[in-house]
């Protein structure tokens, strides 16, 4: 299980990366992140939405109300060009950090 501090730092990267695959609403986003990280990253409602709103204010993502197939109205988030632009340096920074940690701790797959 990954510690809280690292999780907080990776949260934005996780959201931007998952939205790169296409628009989705908050609940689906949390479920997909949990599935794809095999439970290592879990977003509760309390953690997810303040972050989504903050990212929306930054202009990295944009939320719009859409009606799903079962007729329910949901707020779907999609990556904006600014968000896409933010994603690649963020990925690079995290990759560098992991490599550095790997060298430092001699832990394989850090």
């Amino acid at each position: 299980m990954i510690g809280t501090g690292i999780k907080r730092g990776t949260a934005e990267l996780a959201v931007l990366s998952i939205l790169e695959g296409g628009p989705m609403h908050g609940y689906e986003m949390a479920r997909r992140i949990e599935q794809e990280t095999k439970g290592a990253l879990r977003f509760t409602l309390a953690a997810l939405y303040p972050m989504l709103y903050r990212m929306e204010q930054h202009g990295w993502i944009r939320g719009t109300w859409e009606t799903s197939s079962n007729g329910r109205r949901k707020r779907c988030y999609r990556l904006t060009p600014a968000g896409r632009k933010k994603l690649s340096p963020l990925r690079r920074e995290w990759a560098e950090l992991f490599r550095a940690l790997q060298r430092l701790t001699k832990v394989a797959n850090a």
Partner: protein, 232 residues
């Protein structure tokens, strides 16, 4: 099944954001809780446990409210104030003034109620028009996301602007007194201001405010029904 919409509305009742923005957040979070609850039910959890597991997602609603506010308040406050207060307020003032000037051009005279210098001028057709102008100001403010107070302030803006002009007479009088050397009788000025204030500020202000309140009332009813539809 709990009414998630109502639950979120109550738990995040102190979310000091624009009405539309607050309703959207309530609807979005309620939809998330509802989906979580349904997923737990689909896993075979009894209703009670599903509700508990769903609510565990938020340990502290006050803290969540604070975090949402911090995240959402990053919008440029000056830009918001211009759209929610200054533009609707100035427009209300301009339109009400233009209408008054038009009435005067058409020769519509005010009615003097009371006697002599203590009488109060009633510009009935103008006063009758003010609730509409007040309603327009409040509508424009609310449409831009203004809260109840901002909408009412926009509707009553002409009265405040006139009050400011009236109050400016005191420092202007003092300046005239010093520069020209002519003493100004502030007692007479104050009496005149009080009387004129009643005719031109208080009564028109109440008329403008009536329009503002009407719009707020209608908008609140519409907003409640809209949120209900979102949650349905």
């Amino acid at each position: 099944m709990p009414n998630w919409q109502e639950l979120v509305r109550q738990l995040l009742s102190g979310l000091a954001l624009d009405i539309a923005e607050r309703d959207e957040i309530h609807a979005e979070l309620a939809a998330h809780l509802e989906e979580s609850y349904e997923a737990f039910c689909a896993e075979g959890l009894p209703q009670r446990e599903a509700v508990e597991r769903t609510l565990v997602q938020v340990a502290d609603w006050q803290d969540l409210q604070r975090k949402i506010l911090i995240a959402r308040r990053r919008k440029q406050p000056m830009q918001k104030r211009v759209h929610q207060l200054w533009i609707p307020g100035v427009l209300t003032m301009m339109l009400s003034t233009i209408f008054l000037m038009a009435l005067q051009k058409l020769g519509v005279q005010p009615r003097l109620v009371g006697n002599g210098s203590n009488g109060i001028l009633f510009y009935a057709p103008w006063l009758a028009s003010l609730p509409f102008f007040g309603a327009l100001g409040a509508y424009l403010s609310v449409r831009s996301g203004g809260l109840l107070g901002t909408g009412l302030l926009a509707s009553v803006f002409p009265a405040f602007a006139l009050t400011a002009v009236f109050l400016l007479m005191f420092p202007i009088g003092t300046a005239i007194e010093r520069v020209i050397g002519i003493p100004v009788d502030f007692g007479t000025v104050a009496t005149a201001l009080l009387l004129d204030g009643f005719d031109w500020i208080l009564i028109p202000g109440v008329a403008l405010l009536a329009g503002g309140f009407l719009v707020q009332f209608l908008f609140n009813r519409w907003s409640w029904s809209k949120t209900g539809r979102l949650a349905a």
